[in-house]
Subunit: 410 residues, 2 copies
Amino acid sequence: MSRLVMKFGGTSVATTALMDRIADRVHTLKQAGHEVLLVVSAMGHETDRLVDLAAQIDYSALDGRQESDVLLATGEQVSISLLALSLMKKGVPARSFQGHQIAIHTDAAFSRARILSIDTERLEAALSDGIVPVVAGFQGVSPEGRVTTLGRGGSDTTAVALAAAMKADECQIFTDVEGVYTTDPRVVAGARRLGQVTFEEMLELASSGSKVLHSRAVELANKYAVPLRVLSSFVEGPGTLITSEETMMMEAPLISGVAFTADEAKLTIRGVKDQPGIASRILSPISEANIEVDMIVQNVGADQSTDFTFTVAQADFEQAQRLLRQISEEIQAGEVLGDAQIAKLSIVGVGMRSHAGVASRMFEILAAEGINIQMISTSEIKISVVIDEKYLELAARALHAGFELESSSD
Amino acid sequence: MSRLVMKFGGTSVATTALMDRIADRVHTLKQAGHEVLLVVSAMGHETDRLVDLAAQIDYSALDGRQESDVLLATGEQVSISLLALSLMKKGVPARSFQGHQIAIHTDAAFSRARILSIDTERLEAALSDGIVPVVAGFQGVSPEGRVTTLGRGGSDTTAVALAAAMKADECQIFTDVEGVYTTDPRVVAGARRLGQVTFEEMLELASSGSKVLHSRAVELANKYAVPLRVLSSFVEGPGTLITSEETMMMEAPLISGVAFTADEAKLTIRGVKDQPGIASRILSPISEANIEVDMIVQNVGADQSTDFTFTVAQADFEQAQRLLRQISEEIQAGEVLGDAQIAKLSIVGVGMRSHAGVASRMFEILAAEGINIQMISTSEIKISVVIDEKYLELAARALHAGFELESSSD
């Protein structure tokens, strides 16, 4: 007997017909003797509908997060009640739980709350009565007893936190893809589902454009050593198991995947004096404007001045460019250059720790295709490059083939 | 300074634009120094949408009320958060409260729960901080901590219970009509808004087809002596104050109003033996089928057998007719007759207590129009008759004029 936490996202519970299929799946697992806890998101576009409703009021001038959390939490409340009914209809005893009913204690950071702890008493009681708890993802209760929501990746985070608190054998995240792939199957025909990846690889893949799982949930699973599995709601299959490095096969492959994104833009400020604190003077106003910076590259030239380059999300490009022009004046630097026509490619793999020469092989593969590299950034298990956006697909296919990802063992 | 509970129904909060107007109204009252608590229903057709969603699952074969209550409660949760945001936007400090947050304690009769008590601590704290509490109507929390809903008339009942618990000076129910009328203005041109009616009159009017307020809320207001005012969300005006008899004007008018409904049907079982317990043998199977019986008339004839006649809602007519045929066989009675083409008219007024001859005057007025009376039923402050449905409007106008309701003082 295993204890499983199964999380279904918005597309997986978009209709009552899909809930009916989930109920069938849970019924089978229950009959096989497993203990099942479900975590669900709001149905399909329900959250968008609620956000649009609130936007009609145009309360942007005030801090309305405490009340918009009350509003948004209804989305999951609808899902849990309908899914509980679907289960009961199949003869599976079920009971819905809102965040405050369990309780999922969070801090008071409305709209982006952090989970502090989860009471397990009611859930354990339900399980020992043979009841399937259907838990609202994305929501919790503040120390003062108010509704909180967890922000981005919230439902995945609820599932992992619940699996940790309930000491589940596995946390299964059901999505609209069949697992984690070596690269994006829509771009590279030979893309292959990975049987396993490590938490670290998954984090690097997530931050490099592979949007299967939010890194917040992966980090939490890593911290509490919760085995995490990504699998499809729509297609039967083993999915991808995300686990700690120790439990991986002895000989990890060199490279697990090629991730990429074209959603970034590059900004360069020229003629920056090379003096202590200059990077912070450039980036502080950017981060104060809530703009997230991804890659940062700085090279010192011979004349004690440097070009400082970083990437931001394309949505933040124009605002960042305006800010950077002001900053350039303030610090008496030179021209500000911007380029939104870029792509970031990353190769990720724990195997590269113990193998030299991965970076140079990557650069060779790209050079053989005549692709110029604009920026390079490396971490222990990842190498990222920025290239011209028009070469993105060519580069992805070349790297996927060059590192022999198609033929790797599962 | 007054303390007011204001309740807004679904049509009054159907859009965010309407909420904006409510916020303006509350803002004015706050500036005049009043303490305001709001109770709201779900927006417009939101409850219907949720009921339709649940109906897709078709869980009719099981008791899903615990979960459908979780579902339905989201409707009011959406309203309270949006209305709180609308108030905050006007600079009025506001905070939403769900049933469990206050808490509104109910029994565990899911889908038709009764309020047991309301904690006032959080609400008093909010009021003394200058905050307008925006309370979800229709919902509460069971002894076990689960979501309950109150069933029909639920939001009005929440408002009255809250006004009683918070010792409010008045409970104002905002609707889409301007108050309680002497009769239906759509049928009788001379219909006039009443300035005041007693709780008893209001109860009789409600049970006789005047659907302004659910009798459950009126009963509760009567029990706790909460002054209740019905007024329009859309048109400025004093509305109608529903209050105890003692506080009414010295000389109450003879008749307060003429109520009517065409939504009933009449059933007669002939040749019933006149023996003890026979009425219960006829009506028990009807009430066991959850069919509500309204008027009941039985007359004993010379031959020790009787015709037993009663009315039910038209929606229950066919089922009641089937049941009655079985019952007739079992008790060896005669023919079962049914008639859905009937109307019930009632005249209501506390004044008739001290005035003889009101009934005979009513019958004279109807006779003068050539209208035959099929059934008569009387209570201390009400006389009801059943007539052929086609005479309904004629009878309503004749009674309204005959009792001089158009010219009565307010």
